[in-house]
Amino acid sequence: MLNYILQRVGLAIAVAFTVSLAAFLLLNIATDPAYAIAGEEADPEVIEQIRIRYGLDRPLWVRYLDWLTGVLRGDFGVSYYWNKPVATLVAERVGTTLTLAFSALFVTIAIAIPLGAAAALNRNTWVDRLALWLAVSAQAVPNFWLGLILIILFAVMIPIFPVSGDHTWLHFVLPAFVLGASSVPPVMRLMRTGLIEVMGSDYIRTARAKGYRGQTLLLRHALRNALLPVVSVLAVQLGQKVGGSVITESIFAINGLGRLALQSILGADIPTVQILIFLFALVFVAMNLLADILNAALDPRIRIR
């Protein structure tokens, strides 16, 4: 077990470094940061001065190492656009995005698990078909459009929720639903196939033979095992929620990391953008690692492999 964990941690660290390299290189090759600071029409002399002032005249790999050592010490650089340390910008907004991500995860769980279980227990009936059609539809709905439709329905036509902002919990209801809905199809399908498999297994037949019926059978024996794979997928989905916050936060004007990312891109603010890409990737790597370890802890076959 320890061996397996160490191996996964080593891989996660290697991926984290590669991701930092990718985030830095892609952005610094795609554009010249000096032009991004000064603007496209700036004087060549001004550009040259900026290059020297910001240390952009040094070779790319020196700049990367400089940036990386800074990041490891917690120094994320200074934003060109906001004129603030990037670390401050991130610290101000990280709580909002985490609140949104966890509320979205709650929405996913509250919809996907009962729906998947209902579909599995009523296999090939209208319940099952309805659940599958919902999943297919949810996969085809553009996230940002769903957000706008909900604004039209529940903020304009029937004004229950506020249109935008992040001051009270009411502000988070619609965004959490939009962000959570996108994870419903995969989690629901997994719950459904998992429960169908478990219900057909030998130990359930044994439990039935021993006289367990209905709720006891379902709750004490079947659900617990069907939920195991779902838990690790939920960890991965939580990592994706943070990345998915870009669209949701932009639509509902929530001042989190996702909106910061869009604003920084449109402001050509390379230091902020590269940190955010790196941080979002780190969250994903961490959640994946957590999922791997959970999987191994719950299923001994994986760690022996």
Binding site: A22, Q139, L148, V156, V246, I247, L262, I277
Partner: protein, 304 residues
């Protein structure tokens, strides 16, 4: 259906009776798969709309008419049949722009999914066939790609390189190959261990010949299934980028961009947002239903 039903009757007369071929079985299943029929129907219809857009659109998609700004659709009070779905902020016919939007979405979807296919299948077949360090390297690349926040990276790259049709296609394509890779890699590992590959190798075929003539033809149905799914994903990615202002630029009629433009008037003219989203939804659900159907038809053992 009738071909299959005839078999028992024929077997009375003929001595040797062949079971139905995989192709025949697949066709029979296709005829009875409703999701596949609906999906394929939607996709064919919208591709035809894209091809014949100039003949179908009642107006030119760029033609502005300032006296006719923000007209409502015909079923809302104040609408008229000259502009069946109304007009936008600068008086362009909304139906014509929606029809031309089909072109943008389908062109980008097909091209980006093709780029993803080329990258993913190449890496997947190489990793699956050669194994060893090639497999390790490709797996590491896969893990890294999965970790990167795709939408955010696409937004940043498109913005910094400069938004244009080609850039949007290339960036979306380059970021959407993992699904192709995962499936072709494991399928190649499986096929590689089968007898006919060993036979080909024994008869002196090179790795290259085996990959082209033995492995790729056997992957084709799986690749087509993923392609239809990725088509939907790429179309949604383009719409998201254009909606956020870092994709297709005005005045090109992209559905995502139209939703962003319509958002300004969402309180009084919701149809400006609702209509392009419905087109997008129908196109993507068509692709997904076709993909689901193709998977059920070509490999029913994976049906859930």
């Amino acid at each position: 259906m009738s071909r299959i039903l005839k078999h028992p009757a024929q077997s009375v007369n003929t001595v040797e009776q062949l079971p139905p071929s995989p192709g025949q079985l697949a066709r029979t299943r296709a005829w009875s798969h409703r999701g596949f029929q609906i999906g394929t129907g939607i996709l064919i219809l919208l591709i035809l709309v894209a091809i014949f857009a100039p003949y179908l659109a009642p107006h030119h998609p760029f033609q502005q008419s300032l006296p006719n700004r923000l007209l409502p659709p015909v079923w809302v009070e104040g609408g008229n049949w000259t502009y069946p779905l109304g007009t936008d902020q600068v008086g362009r016919d909304y139906l014509s722009r929606l029809i031309y939007g089909t072109r943008v979405s389908i062109t980008i979807g097909l091209s980006a999914a093709t780029i993803g296919l080329l990258i993913g299948v190449t890496l997947g077949v190489l990793a699956g066939y050669f194994g060893g360090w090639v497999d390790h390297a490709v797996s590491f690349l896969l893990t890294t790609q999965l970790a990167l926040p795709g939408l955010l990276l696409a937004m940043a790259l498109v913005f910094f390189i400069g938004p244009s049709l080609i850039v949007v296609i290339c960036i979306i394509g380059v970021l959407h190959w993992t699904y192709f890779l995962v499936v072709t890699r494991s399928a190649t590992q499986h096929i590689r261990s089968l007898d006919f590959v060993a036979a080909a190798r024994a008869s002196g075929a090179s790795s290259r010949q085996i990959i082209w003539h033995e492995i790729l033809p056997n992957l084709s149905s799986k690749i087509i299934v993923i392609f239809t799914f990725e088509l939907g994903i790429a179309i949604l990615a383009e719409a998201s980028l254009s909606f956020l202002g870092v994709g297709i630029q005005a005045p090109t009629p992209s559905w995502g961009l139209m939703i962003a433009e319509g958002k300004e008037a969402i309180f009084y003219r919701p149809w400006l947002v609702v209509l392009p989203g419905m087109f997008l939804f129908v196109l993507v659900i068509g692709a997904n239903l076709m993909g689901d159907g193709l998977r059920d038809i070509t490999s029913p053992e994976e049906k859930s």
